[in-house]
Amino acid sequence: MKIDFKHKQSAHCESGVTANLLTHYGLQISEALAFGIGGGLFFAYLPFVKINDLPLTTFRYTTGAIMKRTMTALGVQVKTEKFRSPQKAMAELDRVLAQGTPVGLQTGAWFLPYFPPAYRFHFNMHNMVVMGQENGQYLISDPVFPEPVLCDRMNLMKARFTQGALKPKGKMYYITDVPSSFDLQTAVKDGIRSVVKAMLKTPLPIVGIRGMRFLASRMERWPQKLGEEKAILYLGQLVRMQEEIGTGGAGFRFLYAAFLQEAADILKDDRLRECAATLTSIGDRWRDFAVSAARHCKGRAKEHDTFADMANIIRDCASREEALYLELTDIIK
């Protein structure tokens, strides 16, 4: 059994699954548009949340929220289920699948056999769409892979019931109703508004523009506070958060710039096209930081790669992004 589901590879799993599911139901929404309507762009430096003893930095909004906001903004009805029993979770997946409905899953990455070994981490916020069954294996549209992949029942069950932080508990979701018409312009504007608000107005020093500046000031002190060796591990972790699979490059900045281009057409406002170009150059600046940081990790730091220099790049990104969000506020007013 195979559902006629169009698999499209995307940069990020959650916005990719959202776009692919919507496209299946006749709503031509790209990944970038789903990411933008869902208000995906974000920044927070969370030094007290540690992964492998290294602090968490995030460039995207809370997991699950991007899809939820996009579906709500477009008036799409989604049924979401969580389970205690793995057997029941698999039976329900089979039942919905048999009706010809593609089913979205939240899973852990650890047990997925088609993941290259290097991607094997205990990461519980992966998303995919199950699009059929073949010879006892599930046919899966995993948006970060170029082609649909296969996964056996046992490992898929394990992946749906991984343990640890943010465990998926067998979470599955599928679209039950799509509106005949929707207001794309309002959805796009609301999406931009939520990003601008989060980046400029969150009353926490670790979030948004303030969070970037906070990271910069902490980064300057890393070598003294942590010692050179640990400071370099902190840098490597930050580069991974910014560039590792799922961000589309430069901590989702390029992905959001692609959204702003689409938004320019939807809202018929050329200023948004200029904003997209500005954000592209800001993304390049984030990548300047990654290049400098990687030289440190390789023990090849040059004269202008000091922690203070890198902190200044982050501050530069903060100032430029601040100006951009102010302009966006003006445009969507």
């Binding site: 590879q9 995307s10 940069a11 990944e31 970038a32 492998n52 047990f111 056999p113 290259p116 070994p117 290097a118 991607y119 094997r120 981490f121 205990h122 970060v144 892979f145 170029p146 490992n155 343990q163 640890g164 370099i232 591990l233 490597g236 972790q237 580069v239 991974r240 560039e243 590792e244 699979i245 589309g248 490059g249 430069a250 390029f254 992905l255 710039a257 692609a258 281009q261 997209a276 170009a277 592209t280 150059s281 993304g283 390049d284 990548r287 300047d288 990654a290 290049v291 940081a293 990687a294 030289r295 990790c297 390789k298 090849r300």
Partner: protein, 162 residues
């Protein structure tokens, strides 16, 4: 610490003024040659999805993450050989777990898992408990109990665990 995945050539140190489609980096990294997609602009400044094999700075950061894991594995091996830890510790770090994640997977209290890391307690473990651990790691009880498994040539981030 030796690098596990040597980068063949020094990476480009300049980032282009804009991320052009033709300049999307293709530095093969950890993903077995699998290409992910990234966002880049064409000659007219329009965004497109472009396949990328990887980017050197990112590859370096990924290698660093795997070196940390390799380092943890090596340190635990030494402690096991010195009689300070049980072989359970090896399988735990190899599978990138800590006591609390491991406890959740086998359905035991964390303090019990911590006790099982002691060689003298581990030796006295009953079969049902051993089976739980072995099944989680995809091993037979014999393999799991065999001290020699800690000397297997496991290459973190390159060899398949499951």
């Amino acid at each position: 610490m030796n690098s596990l995945h040597e980068t063949p050539k020094p990476f480009q140190t300049q980032v282009k003024s804009t991320m052009l489609k033709k300049d999307v980096p293709q530095d093969i990294g950890i993903a077995e040659g699998m290409k992910e997609v990234v966002y880049a602009v064409d000659e007219n400044g329009n965004y497109e999805l472009v396949p990328s094999a990887g980017w050197a700075p990112k590859n370096i950061a990924n290698d660093q993450a795997w070196e940390i894991i390799s380092g943890q594995i090596e340190a635990v091996k030494k402690q096991i050989k010195a009689g300070e830890l049980s072989p359970l510790a090896y399988h735990m770090v190899k599978n990138q777990m800590d006591e609390s994640l491991l406890a959740q997977y086998v359905g035991l209290f964390k303090w019990k898992v911590k006790r099982h890391l002691k060689p003298e307690v581990f030796k006295k473990l009953k079969k049902p408990v051993l089976e739980k651990y072995a099944a989680l790691f995809g091993l037979s009880v014999e393999q799991f109990m065999d001290m020699a498994t800690i000397d297997e040539g496991y290459n973190p981030g390159k060899d398949r665990l499951i």
